[in-house]
């Protein structure tokens, strides 16, 4: 398995030479490579045993045996945090290649090669078991995306690419310092300490230091803020989000799909991978502030989305809102919220990635993204409309689809925190609920205007010219299709969207299957922070006891099953949410 993981991560880069000069062969070769990667990563994910901590770990020393005091490795592995985002990267790249099939005309070879490099970067980020390796992949994803936005984007692509790159880099250099500081601090606090960059070892060391009282809160907070700088930009949290709508709107469809679907998740993943487990006290101390930012982001993103006229821009702002939910879940600092946040990251990837793909398909047909240019398309493009409805319902959290499972867990987690620890935060929880309502409003308004009502198709200024051109050159070729063709989805486009739809429904009806594989890692990583947040909330006695009592009660009575404690079996409560009437879920070993 471990070798298989290694092969999976580097397969796209190894396949680069196969991507040939001609556009047709380039896209076919890259599609094959990505399909192979998708199959392998899907196999890895589904081979991941429920209840396992880590899986398919592959490691070798990076700097060789030259420096005995340094433990720097090329280490890859999957665990509960990465097990679903990892195959999601391949899946969305598969979609991205299919939606670019006709859209990318110029420099196709470079385009597909960059997509493949980006895929290796994304897979590597989530599989990395070493701090430096994580950072290398993290930054390495910037370069291909920078070129993808800048070379194949829309009108303001150059500005968008540079802004995207600089925002991310400015945050991530501070993250880099924070990561180095963690390694140095952990090595120097111990006599003869080996300088380790291995994430599990580092976490273990830091927790030992913390138990001995050698990791004071001030140090934690400084390092936490350094890490926060990079991750908050990437998420993006409210005041740092300005690069996102621009980058999303200007990027080519494939870029938007991957940016929204995967790259935004690196920020949240970083919180879960580094901030929470390594700096639990600082996480607990900063949580109230971050929750405020997240809640503001939810409302702000939703209201701004409501005011947009450009479909892509609307979805971009909805991302700000939805990612706020994920962060809200993480920093509620209890198992419900964490599970919900992590699941919601996957859900958002599926739904928003899919929405961007659909918008790309519309744009390919009509060359506009203005909402008022469309109307009643459901009759004109029924299959496309079906997918749009599915994705929209997933996005607004319709029960039975994946978004509901994620958002419900997040909100429950947030209410639990607010109720038990800090009543004042009820305001935030209520605001988040309003965020859900607003999401339904802007998304349904969008669907209503574009797909229902009177049939209204954009007037295509260039249509006749294109038609003439097509007639003159090649009537049935790609050119014709990419320019003036307004039929319903082709098989290729259905193939691009269908897998997303399958998972949207699957996660919706059986979230326990997905949550069960997250639980062991998530519990182990978040336990210190969860405990710290309880003692943070007040004198350790009353509040913590209240929580424990509440959980004991919950264990017996709650509709979510009997698994609210960290040692428990949280897949039960999710089963309760989505399909309470069903038998106990099968994956609870």
């Amino acid at each position: 398995m471990s070798t298989l993981l290694l092969v999976t991560v580097f397969l796209p880069v190894l396949g680069l030479p196969l991507v040939g000069r001609r556009r047709e062969s380039a896209r076919l070769a890259s599609l094959l490579i990505v399909t192979a990667t998708l199959l392998l990563s899907g196999y890895l994910a589904f081979a991941f045993p429920a209840g396992a901590g880590e899986f398919a770990v592959w490691e070798t020393s990076w700097v060789g045996g030259r420096f005995p005091g340094v433990d720097l490795r090329l280490g890859l592995g999957l665990d509960g945090l990465s097990v679903w985002i990892f195959p999601l990267s391949s899946l969305l790249t598969f979609t991205a290649i299919l939606v670019s099939w006709h859209a990318v005309d110029r420099g196709a070879t470079s385009f597909y090669r960059l997509l493949l490099i980006l895929l290796t970067g994304m897979l590597g980020v989530f599989a990395a078991r070493d701090v430096l390796l994580f950072y290398v992949f993290f930054e390495a994803t910037l370069i291909p995306l920078f070129f993808l936005i800048g070379m194949w984007g829309h009108e303001e692509r150059r500005y968008a690419a540079v802004k995207f790159f600089l925002f991310t880099l400015a945050g991530s250099v501070l993250t880099f310092l924070g990561l180095l500081a963690l390694a140095i601090y952990s090595a120097q606090s111990q006599p003869q300490g080996v300088l380790t960059f291995s994430i599990p070892h580092l976490t273990e060391n830091l927790m030992r230091l913390r138990a001995n009282g050698q990791l004071p809160l001030t140090v934690q907070i400084w390092i936490f803020l350094a890490l926060f700088a990079g991750f908050a930009v990437k998420v993006p949290l409210f005041p740092l989000h300005t690069w996102l709508p621009l980058a999303h709107v200007e990027a080519p469809t494939a870029g938007s799909v991957l940016l929204a679907g995967i790259l935004l998740k690196i920020g949240g993943y970083g919180f879960l991978r580094f901030s929470l487990p390594m700096l639990p006290d600082a996480s607990a101390a900063c949580a109230p502030w971050i929750l405020i930012l997240a809640a503001v982001g939810i409302i702000y993103g939703a209201l701004t989305a409501l005011a947009q006229r450009d479909i892509k821009r609307l979805i971009a702002y909805s991302s700000v809102s939805h990612l706020g939910f994920c962060v809200l879940g993480f920093f509620a600092l209890n198992p419900l919220g964490l599970h919900g946040g992590l699941l919601q990251m996957v859900n958002h990837g599926l739904a928003t990635g899919g929405l961007f793909a659909v918008v790309g398909m519309l744009y390919e047909r009509y060359h506009t993204r203005q909402i008022e240019a469309f109307g009643g398309l459901a009759r004109r493009l029924p299959i496309l409309a079906c997918f749009m409805f599915l994705l929209t319902f997933s996005s607004i959290g319709l029960p039975g689809l994946n978004g509901f499972a994620g958002e419900f867990l997040i909100l429950t987690g947030m209410f639990e925190r607010a109720w038990l620890l800090q009543r004042g935060e009820l305001v935030l929880a209520v605001a988040a609920v309003f965020g859900v309502v607003l999401a339904a409003w802007y998304m349904l308004q969008l669907v209503g205007r574009v797909f229902f009502g009177e049939l209204k198709e954009p007037v295509q200024g260039g249509m006749e010219a294109h038609a003439g051109l097509a007639g003159a050159e090649h009537v049935t070729g790609d050119h014709y299709r990419s320019q003036g063709w307004t039929g319903d989805l082709t098989a290729r486009e259905v193939l691009a969207l269908a897998p997303l739809g399958v998972f949207i429904v699957w996660i919706g009806v059986q979230p326990s299957f997905f949550l069960a594989r997250m639980t062991p890692t998530l519990d182990a990583l978040s336990r210190p922070a969860t405990r710290a947040s309880r003692s943070e909330a007040g004198p350790a006695t009353a509040a913590a006891e209240a929580v424990d009592a509440a959980e004991r009660v919950a264990n017996r009575r709650s509709a979510f099953g009997r698994a609210q404690t960290t040692e428990g079996d949280p897949c039960r409560y999710s089963a309760g949410i989505a399909c309470g009437h069903q038998n106990p879920p099968p994956f609870t070993d």
Partner: protein, 511 residues
Amino acid sequence: MIPELVLGMGAVACFCLGAFPTVRRASQLVAWFAVLFAGAVVGVQTGWWHGHAVSEPWYAAFGNLFRWMGLGLGLVLLASMRPGASERHEAESLGCLLSAILGLMLVGGAADLITLFLGLELISVASYILLYLDRDGPRPEEAAGKYFYLSILSSAVFLYGLSYLYGLGGALRLDRLTHAWASGAGTLGDASLGAMAAVLVLAGLAFKITAVPFHFYAPDVYQGTSHVNASLLSVLPKAAGMAAIIKLLLGIMVGGGLPLWQVTLAVAVLTVTVGNVIALWQTHLRRLLAYSSIAHAGFMLIGLTAAMTYRRPHQHPWDGAGALLFYLVAYVIATAGAFAALSVLRRGNRPVERLDDLRGLARSNATAPRFIAWSLAAFMFSLAGIPPLAGFWGKLAVFFSALDVGASPSENPLRSRLLWLAVIGAVNAAIGAAYYLRVVGAMFFTEDDAQDRQQAAVVATPAVVAVFACLVLTLAIGLSPGSWFQAAHSASPTAVPTIVEVSLDTAPATH
């Protein structure tokens, strides 16, 4: 000494050949042969071919590092010297180039003050002539004049500092000076004498490495001359200056109990900030790269400052001096590669000089300009410190060396200062990325819309090979930095070589 002798003889041969018009063309051959032969000798001496080094006791790992660097740079610069650009003075130019490389190698291996100064001057004198000979640049007189006067001044200041050093330590040999300063020569009697020596030496060398406030010449000089000369000026004096700084400040004076780190910290912060911030407004490529080279000197000085503030048993390769050397290697490769890439580009009869001249290079129809565009992008990303390229590891090493004190749990009084130094460095790394991205953006994201101008085309094949070599090195170091860290790490403690006395009169003693 064989490689140095080979290069010296090659330089002399080139100068001599220049006097005879009929055989002048052979100078090219002589120069290539000299560099390659010297490289082969270094290779044999360091044991690349047959496993064990032929020991030359007066040469240490530090010297060898600079030998390799000098010879590698020599090949890149030779390849990018455009044949025909200054045909009348081709032989002289090649001779000067060989002398400059020789200078760098001498500085790297110098074991006493005289050799050190000689090496630095060899580079300076050769570059004066090169600047005067060059007719490719837009304003050769201005460049040459400015560089000449300021360089002479800095040499004088440096020499004045050396005289203090000699006076206080009572020796010219570096190892004896180290002992003398360790036993308090620097603070003997009036402590200000030692400080004076340090400040004067640093001031003189700051000119070579373009540290603020001795950086003013660099943008004007680079702009006024050709790409090849700018390349030479931005790598050779910088490498030699850094070698001299490590030898004199780190090897000798830091042991004398003076708080030298205060000076270098201030200079580092100023240099890195000024270089990066001013570069943001540049549109001329050589000016931009001049400010970039100023900024990189600042990053290296962060490593120097860290090296001055602590001495601990190094379990990791990222101690200050090792970090500086590694950073230097990464910087030199990327900068030389970038200038070589620029030097092969032409628009019609004109060299590519402004950011606008690069427009649409990556969208060219021919393969060669596209290759140059991608290489140039790789060098820019390496200079910006983006993984997985060599520059990233340089930045890692430098920041790590500062954080090694700055983020340690011990109550070191310097802790917060080095922490802020690292933070300032990191912020600057992000600022720096902005102007490197402009270069990349010009090549990739814009169309070549100028109708009246001619398409950018690639001339001069050897330089393309040099670009390719630099690209391979940048990627190779980026993917597997271990052995390079090892080299830099093991080189830094041998900066002050111990001299083994060899007596020529009697038979060598047998043990």
